[in-house]
Symmetry: C2
Amino acid sequence: MPLPQPVCYYHTPRAPNPRRTQIFIDEKGIEIPRVEVNLMEGAHKQADYLNKVGISQVPALELSDGTVLVESPAICRYLEALHPEPNMLGHDALEQSYVEMWQRRIELRLMVTIAQVFRHTNPRMAALETQCPDWGAVNAGRIDERLAELDRQLQGRDWIAADRLTIADITGVVAVDFLHLIKREIPEGMTALIAWHDRMRARPSTALQ
Amino acid sequence: MPLPQPVCYYHTPRAPNPRRTQIFIDEKGIEIPRVEVNLMEGAHKQADYLNKVGISQVPALELSDGTVLVESPAICRYLEALHPEPNMLGHDALEQSYVEMWQRRIELRLMVTIAQVFRHTNPRMAALETQCPDWGAVNAGRIDERLAELDRQLQGRDWIAADRLTIADITGVVAVDFLHLIKREIPEGMTALIAWHDRMRARPSTALQ
């Protein structure tokens, strides 16, 4: 049975999770009709969105059989099956697990940490979040050690988890660019991380919208 | 080229992340030599562990080629490739992505939320965590709505994401059992969730160690 095809991609430009799926889509060269969801206006919490998607999250990918996939890595996995090249989730089982490990490590240890600082200390987020400034401060104190983990992995490597671009690099560039929103940057001494970030930002897919 | 084989599984009995990988291993019927890592004594932060695993996390799976996989879903994906039956990550691409979506949803929306309550409000955790009681309270207030998401999904279904046990059910039972540590339980009215949890706890793999 042929796999259902994507019919609509619900996204929010500039938000980190939609951005990483968008970079994945652009690196694959896939065209999918898009609908923009305005988070600041609460469009993701309105009945028509919730009835279709089942949860107030972006991005979401609606398929021709009515299934709606949520969660960026799950969406990317489905798109990789439909469009295997260029491979960005790993060729064999070992590479796939190694890529998934690094994707999760960067997401859960770095990107989420930066997001907590943004959500709990930025006045613009007070409308969307019960802010706990202490929690924001704890996370702010963890960022450099998490960046250092990535810098160490990149010593002598062009890419984070394979011999080419993978979803781990995509989550990585989105996480590092997120530093800008909390007025931080990569510490000067992390030269491998800085060089990798420059290479990533030279790719058209990572242009900020 | 044959895939490298598991040579050692580093785990901590009762901790949620090792428990979900352990249930996966037991449901597969796989035998792997195990080494116990005592988190309360800080064994995961000592040089010999860090040199081998690269990060202070459990569980970890050491392979015969020297690779060490960390992150429970990445470990489970590798074991699924080595031991395809019973299938617990999905047969075709659509099922795989749907299972991954639910695994992530339960992990990131429910299990992490309960973990934040435990870490930020339990006196035993003060030695391991800079505690922010306000953050613990915010998370405590989110738990019932997250349990309700799972209860709704289980209406008229035996399993969370497929017609059989998957990794989503495993993360689910570990998350729900985690409620006990914060002295909470499934609210009475969530009958589908309660019935599913009873079925899950009847499986030998979920016996508490």
